[in-house]
């Protein structure tokens, strides 16, 4: 598995395959997802590419699919177009049928009304009867006059009547009644209209013409007496009876077409996307003169060459061509893209590192180390075994339910799900640091016996009496008194007695601050060691001497010495000397200012003054070494090179050179670059060491939040003297659980995650091309 320590070795390969098999081969390569195509036609615009027509076709299909989706509540081109056409036909026939049905229904009511009208006895004259001279009975009316009958919207009827009256000057007999059934307006299907049936009796041909024109003006179809007879009524009744059935069947057919399309539509979308991607890729390849051969250049990992070859053979067999594609590896001076092969476990860590900047080709990849350092630094800031346990259980549940989560497309749960391995490790490490801090929902666990003994403070062995206990507000245990401190400290973690003491923070702050500084210095030293690995791999021994050695010396002389002081003080200063214990902070400041006191009893060890002066002077000497030596050597080499022009030397790192010609090195640039690097490093040392103090700050915040939550919530219920204490406890525990999850887990967890991320940014490299593999499915 040494592979993940560095990015993969890549090679440039030329592929030759026949034009017919081009599509299939590239689709096979796309399925593999292991190659990156180089653009061999960089000068051409999008319109000049060879396969532009096919790309356009794919886009047309995508458009149709998108329109289809609009109708659904959610091969290829001919199938899709056929469905489109079908749908259009069905829609238009649906409209026509509806219109027909409306007309026929109107006719039916009309005929019914006329029927009723003619069957009435002559004596019953309706109220609204308008006629000119004699009183005419309805039966005689039918024999003498003609009539016009039709259907009109109820709201337009008064206007119609008024117009008729004015035109015919009252020489007509009008009868109307409302249709009981409601009609749907075919244009805007929401409205339900009320309609009326009317029948007009008139005398004379001219009136018929006039009334016909009026009816046209109102947009109604009116029928004349000649057209209405009994057979007509029967025909109409039959038609009206069957029309709804036809309409229903049309609806059903449309529904069937849509559902069958819905089943396939996702598939079609995917296929069309893949096709488009393949044609785009084909546009990147170059076609040779004979139009028979397609040439492509790809970057691929060396270890996958055989897989790619077999995929190409499969592709060419699928397309039925007889010739197998040819793979030809070529040398190139270009820097290959960086490719880090990841599994589902390592991919989340690799993403975190990549977000800062991708390393150069074949540089050491910090991702495998991040798998441990990132969760660890998170846990130092989060340290609570109860919360850590909840986090671990949640992450385990997500990992076990992978199948269920993969189907969810929600963006929030996607982000959470992709970090499930990180969460698991963070949870496990948090349980560990929680045990070390001895903090479980802000209470300590006494797994082992505490090393402190309060009874020994009382009279025979210690200074306390009964009176002392009753008269003091606080009492302090003195570890120097015999028996109070058992001599062997608590085996694992912080002693649980600190949880009950009121000066817990004084002790813990000092401990956590020193611990943060130690972790910071160790982490930074580790980063420098990785750069040593890079120098060794790229065979640059000069850089080891000119950069690595002064960097390490500077760091160790100052901050390594600080770590030494911390650990030395922990080990060497006994509790009996606690009143005169030297302060490390003051000693460090004095060391940098070269100010030493006259008396020598405040030193930690004997020759402290001499050692410190030596270390500070060494560190100060490293600065000019880093600043000047390398540029001066480059200057000297350039002068030598100018004298002998045959010698070919490139001082820039080989992997950045685009061509083999030697580069003119601008001396000013080199000096400035080196100065920037030196300043950045030295100041960075100081500021980064200080920034590691956030480990202390966040763990303090978490512990305090946790304690406050306990005091304000469960404490209330537990210390209730009332008899319903258990019911109160039930309700309050629910509140405690919800607040723990939202505040302490989610809010604090995100905060600690962010800060751990910030502490890892020193592994960022210069942004370089990342390997962009051709894989159409992954773009979904």
């Amino acid at each position: 598995m040494a592979l993940i320590f560095q990015s993969e070795e890549m090679c440039l390969v030329q592929l030759f395959f026949q034009s017919e098999s081009g599509y299939c081969c590239i689709s096979e390569l796309g399925e593999l997802g292991l190659v990156q195509f180089k653009d061999l036609n960089p000068g051409t615009t999008a319109f000049q590419r060879k396969f532009i027509k096919e790309v356009r076709r794919c886009e047309e299909m995508e458009r149709i699919l998108f329109a289809l989706l609009f109708f659904l509540p959610d091969p290829l081109q001919s199938v899709i177009e056929k469905v489109d056409k079908d749908l259009k036909e069905i829609n238009s026939s649906h409209e026509a049928l509806k219109r027909n049905l409306t007309e026929l229904l109107e006719m039916k009511y009309l005929l019914q009304m006329i029927q009723d009208f003619f069957e009435e006895t002559p004596i019953d004259l309706p109220d609204r009867l308008t006629f000119s001279s004699h009183s005419l009975t309805p039966s005689s009316l039918s024999s003498l006059c003609r009539f016009v009958a039709g259907v009109i919207k109820q709201e337009r009827f008064p206007a119609f009547e008024r117009v008729l009256w004015r035109v015919c000057r009252g020489n007509f007999f009008l009868r109307h009644s409302e249709i009981q059934a409601r009609f749907e307006d075919p244009v805007a299907t929401v409205e339900i209209l009320k309609k009326e049936v009317f029948i007009i009796f008139l005398q004379g041909e001219q009136f018929k013409g006039k009334i016909g024109k009026i009816c046209e003006g109102f947009g109604l179809t009116a029928s004349h007496s000649k057209a209405l007879n009994h057979c007509f009524i029967c025909d109409h009744v039959i038609l009206v009876f069957f029309s709804p059935k036809v309409l229903n069947q049309t609806n059903e057919h449309r529904h069937n077409v849509l559902t069958s399309a819905a089943v396939n539509i996702q598939n079609w979308k995917t296929k069309v996307k893949k096709m488009k991607a393949i044609y785009h890729t084909l546009n990147l390849c170059s076609i040779d003169i004979t139009q028979k051969l397609v040439i492509a250049e790809i970057w691929c990992p060396v270890s996958d060459l055989s897989e790619i070859h077999s995929a190409l053979i499969k592709g060419s067999e699928k397309s039925g061509s007889s010739l197998h594609p040819v793979l030809h590896r070529i040398e190139s001076q270009q820097t290959p893209p960086t490719f880090n092969r990841t599994t589902s476990f390592t991919s989340s860590f690799q993403t975190i590192i990549d977000s800062y900047g991708v390393g150069d080709y074949q540089e050491i990849n910090p991702a495998p180390f991040t798998i441990i350092t990132f969760p660890f630094l998170f846990a130092v800031m989060f340290g609570d075994c109860g919360h850590g346990l909840i986090m671990t259980l949640f992450a385990t549940w997500m990992i076990l339910q992978e199948g269920h989560f993969k189907r969810l497309k929600n963006e929030l749960s996607d982000t959470l799900f992709s970090g499930r391995y990180i969460l698991l490790l963070m949870g496990l490490f948090s349980v560990y640091t929680g045990l070390i801090y001895n903090d479980c929902f802000s209470k300590s666990l006494s797994i082992f016996a505490s090393a402190w003994n309060v009874r020994a403070m009382f009279q025979p062995t210690g200074p306390w009496t009964n009176h002392t206990v009753h008269s003091s507000v606080t009492l302090q245990l003195d570890p120097v008194s015999p028996g109070v401190f058992s001599g062997s400290p608590y085996p694992f973690g912080i002693d649980p007695i600190w949880n009950l003491s009121s000066n817990k923070l004084t002790f813990l702050n000092s401990y956590k601050m020193k611990m943060s500084v130690i972790f910071g210095v160790v982490h930074m030293l580790f980063g420098i060691m990785l750069s040593l690995g890079n120098y060794i791999h790229f065979r640059e021994p000069r850089n080891i001497l000119l950069q690595f050695v002064p960097e390490v010396t500077f760091m160790l002389a100052l901050f390594g010495y600080l770590v030494f002081l911390i650990i030395f003080k922990w080990c060497a200063v006994p509790s009996s000397a606690s009143r005169r214990a030297p302060s490390i902070l003051l000693h460090f400041i004095n060391m940098m200012m070269f100010s030493y006191p006259e008396s020598s009893d405040s030193f930690l060890y004997g020759s402290q003054k001499r050692v410190q002066i030596f270390l500070v002077v060494t560190a100060l000497l490293m600065v000019p070494w880093m600043l000047l030596v390398k540029p001066l050597i480059i200057l000297k080499e350039q002068k030598k090179e100018q004298r002998s022009t045959k010698e070919l030397v490139s001082w820039q790192k080989k992997r950045n050179s685009e061509s083999i010609q030697h580069l003119e090195v601008n001396m000013g640039d080199v000096f400035v670059h080196q100065a920037i690097h030196t300043i950045e490093y030295c100041l960075g040392c100081v500021s980064n060491t200080a920034s590691y103090l956030r480990l202390w700050a966040l763990s303090l915040a978490h512990a305090e939040l946790s304690e406050v939550l306990w005091k304000m919530v469960p404490h209330v219920a537990l210390s209730a003297r009332a008899y319903l204490g258990s019911l109160m406890l039930t309700v309050i525990f629910a509140i405690f659980a919800i607040l723990t999850v939202t505040i302490l887990l989610i809010m604090e967890g995100l905060s600690a995650f962010l800060h751990a991320l910030r502490l890892h940014c020193k592994f960022a490299g210069v942004p370089v091309t990342l390997f962009a593999e051709f894989s159409p499915e992954m773009s979904q």
Partner: protein, 100 residues
Amino acid sequence: MVTLLCCGPKMAACGIVLSIWGVIMLVLLGIFFNVHSAVLFEDVPFTENDFQDKNPPQEIYRLYEKVSYNCFIAAAIYALLGGFSFCQVRLNKRKEYMVR
């Protein structure tokens, strides 16, 4: 008949998780109170009078045990709540199958 299904699937799942956590944590708290753990001293509802005891730690121990009984009863209530949530989950699953 009044429908027995009153929670949705998500609420029932939350109910189960909360109940399991409640049962485990309250039982453990109850045990720790029962063995008179010193770390939990501040949560015991003692007053000034309890320190005037004739028989020194017995009164405090009695208070400890009272709190531990409270915890156990609360744990039992959560166990019932867990059972109820579990029934809701099963009813929800059955409803899902029937609709399909």
